[in-house]
Symmetry: C2
Subunit: 604 residues, 2 copies
């Protein structure tokens, strides 16, 4: 018998989950990506070894990777000659602002404020190669002077009020995983800078299990949110690559996209309401609705605002029932063009798998090179499979590409999606490559950033950057951007050959998100990080020329700010700038003169 009263209970039917344990951030490394238990290094045998047990490659030796990478870069990597990190760099002293401090000390607990040098350093950068290279091999000219950890919205309100009173600059901080240099402090900022680390505001304030909504504090980390909702059979479904570290507030500020957006939507599809502490006061609503038309919505301005409009303290998000069935899948195609054509075909379905991603040939080889060597050598089955794929099936190991998929839903939904996917794949010569390869491909996403640090330890600078592009330009964009990177590599007289790869990570009816990966060996290169930035800028120019966007979901930050006038009219830029001025006249959030020519990434 249906209990109809659930459709009348409203707020009375809400669940208030117990507060989570205090978050432990000491597990995270200050100078490298991710958890301290996971370390990739070249061992004495010259093999890559991975510590810990979190990921598919954890606890393994990866003997194929180094030789393969050396081939890509046309350069020998000498395990006896690591590129030693000089972390921590010299850290600028903290400017004091006793009046401000006195004001907020009335509100914040003693352990909620810190001027520790390393803590301030960690809050002054995100995770671009430039930032990580700077803290290991250079320095940062400016970092926050104070770090504050609010635990209540009132703390944030009081801090912002005090910042206004005492002319302090405020930078919100989520997971610190930004890849847009949004967290870098402008070197000429003369006001004291306070970094507001939101991660102690990590409670789920309520769940409406009937309407499938939850109100979550902005500092909650993705992984914790998933864990906290799981007992109620619910999920947000938002899974960015950084889900282990990034926060709800950070997702809103960067206009994030998750790997399963096909099923759960991007962040703007998931967030129904938010509370924002602005310099003018509280941006808030009295109730939350599935969708509405009530005039211009200032909350929409928070998506992509990158901390420049205020601090999001909590948001009401849409939830989905945990899927009955979760299944992985993978496909091989003879070349990238066929893979793209398949994904295009798939984008015409009403529903496609939660995640569908296409690796180009280099990335496919990269993934294969990262496989641990099984004890006793490869199994007969895997040898046979390989022989069949490369033999009778006619796959060329230097052309073939792979597509990985995650299906989620009811048993019927997953069955129907699988049928649709494999039927369409056949048209493009697709070959089913099994569930395990699909699962591994999905999980490996979490390892990519660790590999960036391993690379840097061995004189390799590596970085990814992404864009979105309509279907009618996707192949031209992929090949022209790679070509441009090859030319730039040459033009800069860099050693060896460039590591170049791309993948299609999201599909839409109208186009795709493409990631590019570029790496080079930098031993003997002067200012390698600056060279990388110059080449990345050139690649971005090419992306824009080929009809790509400035960013699909990483955001603009300081890294891509100089390109804004190329993609938006002056009226559009002024619109945002003037909105900032009116909302925050003394510009406590961000630079006083945001419209000025931005600082180039490569001039620390």
């Amino acid at each position: 018998m249906t209990d109809f009263s659930v459709f009348s209970r409203g707020a009375e039917g809400r669940i208030v989950p117990p507060p989570p344990p205090a978050p432990r951030f000491e597990d995270e490394l200050p100078d490298r990506w991710g958890y301290g238990d996971t370390r990739l290094f070249l061992n004495d045998r010259g093999n890559i070894e991975v510590t810990g047990n979190r990921y598919p490659i954890s606890g393994h030796e990866l003997p194929d990777f180094l030789p393969w990478m050396e081939g890509q870069l046309s350069h020998r990597i000498d395990p006896q000659d690591p590129c030693l990190s000089h972390y921590p760099p010299s850290i600028p002293g903290a400017r004091s602002c006793p009046a401000f401090m006195a004001d907020i000390q009335k509100v914040f607990p003693a352990d909620g404020l810190s001027t520790d040098a390393k803590v301030r350093l960690r809050h002054g950068h995100g995770h671009t190669q430039y930032e990580i290279y700077s803290i290991k091999h250079g320095s940062l000219p400016r970092v926050p002077d104070l770090v504050a950890w609010p635990t209540e919205e009132e703390h944030v309100v009081a801090l912002v009020e005090a910042a206004k009173r005492h002319d302090v600059c405020v930078i919100p901080f989520g997971g610190g995983t930004s890849v847009s240099q949004a967290l870098l402090c402008p070197k000429d900022e003369s006001r004291p800078i306070v970094s507001v680390d939101m991660r102690r505001m990590n409670r789920i304030l309520w769940i409406d299990p009937v309407s499938r909504m939850a109100c979550i504090q902005a500092g909650a980390v993705g992984g914790h949110i998933a864990k906290a909702l799981q007992p109620y059979g619910l999920t947000m479904g938002h899974e960015p690559d950084s889900i282990e570290f990034s926060t709800l507030g950070g997702w809103i500020a960067t206009h994030a996209s998750g790997m399963k957006k096909n099923r759960y939507g991007n962040i703007e599809d998931i967030v129904l309401d938010m509370r924002v502490v602005t310099a003018n006061g509280m941006l808030e609503r009295t109730s939350v609705h599935p969708r509405e038309s009530v005039g211009c919505d200032p909350r929409l301005f928070m998506f992509g605002s990158e901390g420049s409009m205020g601090i999001v303290t909590s948001a009401v998000v849409k939830l989905t029932k945990l899927p009955e069935v979760q299944k992985y899948g993978s496909l091989l195609f003879h070349d990238f063009d066929n893979g793209v054509a398949f994904m295009y075909d798939l984008s015409q379905c009403a529903v496609y798998p939660a995640s569908v991603r296409l690796m180009d040939n280099v990335q496919f080889q990269f993934g294969a090179a990262l496989k641990p060597r099984p004890a006793g050598g490869p199994s007969l089955k895997s040898k046979l499979e390989k022989a069949i794929v490369l033999g009778p099936l006619g796959f060329d190991k230097d052309k073939m590409v792979a597509c990985t998929m995650v299906f989620e839903g009811t048993a019927e939904e997953v069955r129907s999606q699988e049928a649709e996917v494999y039927r369409r794949a056949k048209k493009y010569g697709g070959f089913k490559a099994g569930e395990e390869n699909g699962r591994r491909g999905y999980m490996m996403t979490y390892c990519i950033a660790y590999i960036r640090d391993l690379a840097m330890d061995n004189y390799i600078l590596a970085e990814s950057f992404e864009t979105s592009v309509p279907w009618s330009q996707v192949l031209a964009l992929c090949s022209n951007v790679k070509q441009r990177l090859r030319e730039e590599h040459k033009k800069h007289n860099l050693p060896g050959t460039p590591f170049l790869s791309c993948r299609v990570t999201q599909i839409y009816e109208t186009g795709v998100c493409v990631y590019f990966y570029y790496a080079f060996h930098f031993k003997g290169v002067e200012n390698p990080s600056q060279v990388y930035s110059e080449i990345e800028d050139a690649a971005r120019e090419e992306v824009l020329k080929q009809g790509g966007s400035l960013s699909h979901h990483h955001g603009v930050g300081k890294l891509r700010q100089r390109f804004l006038p190329e993609v938006k009219s002056q009226v559009a830029l002024d619109f945002v700038e003037r909105t900032r001025e009116t909302l925050d006249p003394s510009r406590i959030f961000g630079c006083r003169n945001q419209a000025a020519v931005p600082e180039p990434a490569h001039s620390p």
Copy 2:
């Protein structure tokens, strides 16, 4: 063989369709809803008769409707005593602004400007009962002084520039179907007012058939867009009730929702880019992308801006392939609660039908009463069906409700959705009531507004208003709002009993959109339109109290403006107001003092 070059062609692969014929607006009536060929009237036999051939009821007599409606209202309707319209009312003279006129005459063709009284009148209102009652039985204190029909974006730019120079107020006009009183001119507006009728800017500028996007001028009417895209096998899929008359620009300005949003999305999901003429210049971008993260997006401010931020001149929209299969369906449930529970269950699928709507019992009866009487009486089959439903199946004619559905997609998708729908319906005692009832239910949507005019001709004031509400409040909201309407009806000493009905027109994972319908017989009632407005306001108060939104897709306009402070914080209101100030300092778009207490709808 796949032609991979389509993924590299970009703008070169775009199709430029031939311009459409000049739009004919003379088919539309100035004083009633819709087309002149469709007239509902009480004939000499005392039966309702419908002229024309556009709709399911066209060309028919509807003998059951009048007696049924009399029963609902507990009031006799006398065909010999119609409520005669006094249209046209006296129309305020046009204020002249010779300098402005001289400027724009340099740009506009002679037939692109009019000061004709009836034309100005028509551009001074939308389609709420208050507005239509005013033009038939009262007057409008202020209407535009000039109507301009731009055919090119340059015309709009020149007009806005001239308006700034000469202090003229500008109101954009789409289909004139607004139901928020957004088109009403403030009576104390002392500046000349120009209404910018966008409907001659109706071209599809290009179609990218590979990326499935089209750039469409903002004045294109829904029906025309559908017709123009059809030869290319594509559709926008946006089908609001007003699709025959409303425009793309109007949809953006009102933040519209279409009946098939489950498959195609709401307007904000469909629009990828837009060009806007603001008082500061052109809001525009250099290219269009499937999705991006490039900072705060001022274009998002246009959704729901209701003409107050500028004039949208064109938009790039997402297209979908025309569905292989389109199929209707319908279900009967024993009562409203079971119908709602079924829709809730359905909202947990990954895909539900393009449209699913649930009528309450009164609306179900209303639909049945609108059926033409077949020649020779009802068929044996239909008599039998009725007998079975009311007999062995135990449906109570005063409780049963109906759900209508539209399925669209590939054959496999439609099959799978149907299976899912009927499987879930069984759990709630759902009875399959056939395709024909589903199709009729969908098509009848287009007739509702015509019935409003028939009602007014016979001393009945009728109107609908909508909201959105989370699932956990939907039943309480529906019953409490109806109860409040009953109480208000009594409190105002209105004759007979109120006609009261609701329907759930949209479902979301988190809630629904609900429409309410309220009508009363007004013969002998003083200021009936004002009384209606007062009662509607009371109902809106109740909606807000029950957790409903101010509007799901109709918008705020002047009708609901007074409620804004109840739903948004002062910071949110100021944010929008200040943004307006900076974007349009002399406020050529809309009132100089928008923040002032709004004019009540019921004080003409």
